[in-house]
C-alpha cells in the first residue's frame, strides 16, 4: 500500500471516529440566536436570549421535584473565581476560565474537549476590577472571547484553534475586556472596562469572518459632538463610560441596547462639571452603524461609581391599556426603571433597595438628588455602596409570572473624595469608600412587578450577593449566596424549595440546558462549575 493510500485510510478512520464519538456541532446561525427560545435544550447567548430574560422554558425540573436535585458532575479551574455563563450548543459546553481562557466540555460527563489559553501575563493591567471573564459568544462555528489585555479572539468551536485575534484597545492605559461579546447578524459586538484608569470608552462591532472593525461608538463625545457640552475642559478625554457588560437586542426594531459605566475620576467630579454624557446611560444603537438612536441617563454627574451596566431586560406588555415595547433595568443606583424601548421615554422608576441619595425621580426620570450626599474628604455615609444595589450579575424575567427577579445588595458606604491627577495606566479614582460590612449589610432576592417595580416577595440573604438569578418554566428561581449556598425559590412566593452548600462563594449567573432528555442546571462557586440534575 502506498503512503498516499495510508493517508487516505487514516483520514477515513479519523473521520469515522469523529462521526462516531463527537457530539454534533451544527452551525449557530443568526436565525438560531434570534429564536433561542425555540431550542431551550441549548443556551446560545450570555443571557439566554437577545431580550436578556435569563429564563429557561424547560420543565422537567419543577417545584415538585427540585428538592431532589443532585450534582451530576463538576469541573474545576486552576485558580480564581468563575463568573462565566457557559454556552451549551448541541452537546458541548463552552465556558471561560479566569482570567480569559476558553474550554469546551462534553456536557454528558464534564470531560474537557479542548482548552485555549489566552496567556495573560502578570503585567496585564486590570484597574478597578478582578481578573475574571464572563463568557463567550458563538456565531456559525466560531466562538468569540474578549481578553483581559483587551483583545477580541475568534476560536474554531470544534478545536479551539485561533481564527483571528485583534487588539480592541491598549491595555497599557487600562483597557480590558471581561464581558461576553454579543453576536448579531454579521457582526460581533464588544465593550470594555477601564473607566477606573480614565480611558475614553467605546463599543465596537467586528466582522465575525475577518475581525475587521465595522464601527466604533465612543461613549464620551469629543468637542462638537452631541453631549460634549456636558463635560468641562478636557475632561472628556479621560471620561470613562465603560461598556463592560453584555447588552440586549431587539431584532424587530433592529435596536441594540448597550449600557455605559461611571465617569472618571469616580469620586471627585470637580474636573468634569456637567451631566457627563453618555456615562451611566442605556444607549439604543443602530447595530449597522453604531449611531445613537436614543439614550437615557440614570445618574447624571455620578460621583459614587454607580455604573449603569446592569442587564437591560426587554419585554412586551400593556402599559396603561396600550401594548408597548419596554425595557427594564434594576440599576446600581438602587432605582428600578421601566422605559419605552422604541423611544427611550421614561415610564416609571422606584427604589428597590435602601438608598439615601435621592428624594426620588422627576417626571423625566432624572434623580432629585438630596444635599450632602457627595463624597468628602471626611467621608459621607450613603446607601447604596459603590458596588451598588445591583452590579454585574444578572436579573431574570419570567414571562409566566411577569416578575423581574433581582439579587439585591443592601449596603451603605462612607464615600471619600481625594485629589487625583491622570497618569496613563494608573488608577484614576479621586477617592474611595469604606463599606459598612458584616451585620450592618445584607441582601435579598426580590421579585418585582416588572411593570411597576412593586415588591411582590423577598427572600433574605445573609450578606450582599454577587450571584445572578435564573427563573424557569418549572416555577422556581435559581440563585446563589456569597456564603456558598445555591438554592431554588418558588417563583410565585419566594419560599425556599432546595438549597445546597457548595463550599465557595457563588459569583456567577445560573443557566440551564437539556441532554438526553434530562434537564441540567449549571452554576459555579469558587473555582468549581457545578451541574445539577434529577437522580
Amino acid at each position: 500500500m502506498s503512503s498516499q493510500s495510508h493517508r487516505v485510510t487514516l483520514a477515513l478512520l479519523c473521520l469515522a471516529w469523529l462521526t462516531a464519538t463527537s457530539p454534533t456541532s451544527a452551525q449557530v446561525s443568526f436565525e438560531r440566536l434570534r429564536n433561542a427560545e425555540k431550542e431551550p435544550h441549548n443556551w446560545l447567548t450570555y443571557s439566554g436570549n437577545y431580550a436578556s430574560h435569563r429564563f429557561s422554558s424547560l420543565t422537567q425540573i419543577d417545584r415538585s421535584n427540585v428538592a431532589n436535585l443532585r450534582t451530576i458532575w463538576a469541573y474545576q479551574v486552576p485558580s480564581g473565581y468563575i463568573e462565566t455563563t457557559p454556552l451549551v450548543v448541541d452537546g458541548i459546553m463552552y465556558l471561560t476560565e479566569p482570567p480569559s481562557s476558553v474550554s469546551a466540555l462534553d456536557v454528558r460527563t464534564g470531560r474537557r474537549l479542548w482548552r485555549w489559553d489566552a496567556e495573560i501575563g502578570p503585567n496585564v493591567l486590570n484597574i478597578g476590577f478582578p481578573r475574571v471573564n464572563r463568557g463567550v459568544a458563538i456565531l456559525g462555528e466560531t466562538l468569540f472571547v474578549g481578553t483581559l489585555d483587551a483583545r477580541l479572539v475568534a476560536l474554531d468551536a470544534r478545536s479551539g484553534a485561533v481564527r483571528w485575534d485583534v487588539e480592541v484597545a491598549d491595555n497599557s492605559i487600562g483597557f480590558s475586556i471581561t464581558m461576553a461579546p454579543l453576536a448579531l447578524d454579521g457582526k460581533v459586538i464588544v465593550g470594555m472596562s477601564g473607566a477606573e484608569a480614565g480611558v475614553r470608552a467605546f463599543i465596537d462591532a467586528y466582522d465575525p469572518e475577518t475581525g475587521d472593525l465595522l464601527w466604533r461608538r465612543y461613549t464620551i463625545p469629543e468637542p462638537g459632538e452631541p453631549g460634549s457640552d456636558t463635560w468641562g475642559g478636557n475632561s472628556w478625554e479621560t471620561g470613562g463610560g465603560s461598556t463592560w457588560l453584555t447588552g440586549s437586542y431587539d431584532p424587530d426594531l433592529n435596536l441594540l441596547y448597550w449600557m455605559t459605566g461611571n465617569p472618571a475620576p469616580d469620586w471627585n467630579g470637580d474636573s468634569r462639571p456637567g451631566d457627563n454624557l453618555f456615562t451611566n446611560c442605556i444607549l439604543a444603537l443602530d447595530p449597522d452603524t453604531g449611531e445613537i438612536e436614543w439614550y437615557f441617563q440614570f445618574t447624571p454627574h455620578d460621583t459614587h461609581d454607580w455604573d449603569a451596566n446592569q442587564i437591560p431586560v426587554l419585554f412586551d406588555l400593556e402599559w396603561e391599556g396600550e401594548p408597548r415595547k419596554l425595557v427594564a433595568m434594576a440599576n446600581r443606583n438602587a432605582f428600578y426603571y421601566v422605559l419605552d424601548r422604541e423611544t427611550g421615554e421614561f415610564l416609571t422608576g422606584v427604589p428597590y433597595s435602601k438608598q439615601t441619595w435621592a428624594e426620588g425621580l422627576d417626571i423625566t426620570g432624572r434623580p432629585i438628588v438630596l444635599p450632602n450626599t457627595e463624597p468628602t474628604e471626611e467621608g459621607t455615609l450613603v446607601w447604596p455602596s459603590l458596588q451598588g444595589a445591583a452590579n454585574w450579575y444578572s436579573p431574570s424575567y419570567s414571562p409566566h409570572t411577569k416578575l423581574f427577579y433581582q439579587a439585591v445588595r443592601i449596603m451603605g458606604s462612607v464615600y471619600y473624595k481625594a485629589d487625583v491627577e491622570y497618569e496613563p495606566g494608573q488608577p484614576f479614582y479621586g477617592g474611595g469608600e469604606q463599606a459598612l460590612r458584616g451585620d450592618e449589610a445584607s441582601g435579598a432576592i426580590r421579585a418585582l412587578d416588572v411593570l411597576t417595580g412593586e415588591l411582590q416577595w423577598e427572600f433574605p440573604l445573609h450578606s450582599p450577593p454577587w450571584a445572578g438569578l435564573m427563573a424557569t418554566a418549572g416555577g422556581f428561581v435559581f440563585g446563589g449566596s456569597d456564603e456558598g449556598n445555591v438554592f431554588a425559590l418558588d417563583a410565585d412566593t419566594g419560599e425556599s424549595l432546595w438549597d445546597f452548600q457548595t463550599g465557595g462563594a457563588v459569583r456567577t449567573n445560573p443557566m440551564s440546558f437539556e441532554i438526553d432528555g434530562e434537564q441540567r442546571i449549571v452554576t459555579s462557586a469558587g473555582g468549581v462549575v457545578f451541574v445539577f440534575g434529577l437522580p
Binding site: S79, G80, Y81, P122, N123, V124, L125, N126, I127, G128, P130, R131, S172, E196, G379, Q387, V414, Y416, A418, V420, G425, Q426, P427, Y429, G431, G432, E433, Q434, A435, R437, G438, D439, F459, P460, L461, H462, S463, S481, E483, G484, N485, F487, S496, D499, Q501, G527
Partner: protein, 265 residues
C-alpha cells in the same frame, strides 16, 4: 517630587529595620504610601484598611505578610486563589511598593500608652479569681468559648479593654478572616424551634439557610433556619460576665496584664 521621595526614603532606610515597623518612612513618604494605598488597595480593603471586598488589614499580624519583605512580595505577586492580585511594577514601581507596604504594616500597630495597673497581679487574677481560662485561651491554655487572647495586646488598646471588661456588650469583636469575615463574633442568639425548644448560644457562622451556635459550655448547635419560629440576634448583649464585682485596681491590673499578651506593650 519623585526624587524628593527617594531621598527621604533613603534617609529613612538608613535608620534600620525592625520587625514591627520594618521601614521607618518619613511623614511625607508615609502620606504618599497612604495615597497610593487608597488608589490601589482601598477599593477592596477599604479606605481605612478595615476591609471591604478584601480582608481587614488593620491587624497586628498579617499571616501572609508578617514583615516588610513578604508584604512587598504579596503586593507584587498577589495571593493565588484569592481576590488578591499582584500589582505589576508597571503600575506600582519598587519605591512606591515599599511605601504602600510600610503604610499597610502600620495599620495594625496599637498605640503605646501608660497603664496604671500591675501586670503580674493581673496575671494571677486572670488565672485564679477571674476564672478567665474557663472561656479564653492564652498561649494554648484555657477553653475556646470566647475569643482567644494570645495576641490580644497587639490588637487591642487599653481603652478598648477597659470598656470590654466593664461593659462587654459595648463592642463585640468582628471576624477578620474566614467565611464569617466582617460579621460580629460571639453574638448572643436566642432561637426557638418549631417544637418550642429555646436555644441560646453565640453565633459561630451563618448563611441564608443555616446557623451555627456555640453554647457557653462549648457545645456546637447546628440549626436550619426553616426549623425556627423565632430568631433573635442580641447585639446589645454579651455572654461574657461584666466585672462589676472587681475593684478599679483589679481592673487596672487585669488590663495591665492583657496588653502584654503577644508581646504588646
Amino acid at each position: 517630587m519623585r526624587l524628593i521621595f527617594i531621598a527621604l526614603l533613603c534617609l529613612a532606610l538608613g535608620r534600620g529595620v525592625s520587625a514591627q515597623n520594618p521601614l521607618e518612612v518619613t511623614e511625607v513618604g508615609f502620606d504618599r504610601g497612604r495615597l497610593l494605598y487608597q488608589s490601589h488597595c482601598g477599593r477592596c480593603h477599604g479606605m481605612l484598611g478595615l476591609g471591604g471586598e478584601g480582608p481587614n488589614l488593620a491587624r497586628p499580624t498579617l499571616p501572609r505578610a508578617p514583615d516588610h519583605a513578604s508584604m512587598v512580595r504579596v503586593i507584587r505577586r498577589g495571593i493565588a486563589g484569592t481576590g488578591m492580585e499582584g500589582v505589576g511594577a508597571t503600575l506600582l514601581p519598587a519605591l512606591e511598593t515599599d511605601l504602600v507596604a510600610a503604610f499597610v504594616l502600620s495599620l495594625g500597630q496599637a498605640a503605646v500608652i501608660e497603664i496604671p495597673g500591675d501586670a503580674e497581679r493581673g496575671r494571677n487574677l486572670f488565672q485564679s479569681a477571674g476564672d478567665c481560662y474557663s472561656c479564653h485561651i492564652v498561649d494554648g491554655q484555657g477553653k475556646a468559648v470566647g475569643p482567644e487572647l494570645t495576641n490580644l495586646g497587639l490588637r487591642r488598646g487599653a481603652d478598648y479593654l477597659y470598656e470590654s471588661l466593664r461593659n462587654p456588650a459595648a463592642d463585640l469583636p468582628t471576624a477578620r478572616r474566614g467565611t464569617a469575615n466582617g460579621f460580629t463574633q460571639y453574638l448572643p442568639i436566642r432561637a426557638v424551634t418549631r417544637e418550642g425548644r429555646v436555644l441560646n448560644g453565640m453565633r459561630v457562622n451563618e448563611d441564608p439557610f443555616s446557623l451555627q451556635l456555640m453554647t457557653v459550655s462549648g457545645s456546637l448547635i447546628s440549626l436550619r433556619k426553616a426549623d425556627l419560629t423565632s430568631l433573635e440576634k442580641r447585639f446589645d448583649h454579651s455572654l461574657m460576665p461584666a466585672t462589676q464585682d472587681m475593684t478599679d485596681e483589679e481592673v487596672d491590673d487585669l488590663v495591665a496584664y492583657l496588653v502584654t499578651l503577644g508581646g504588646g506593650s
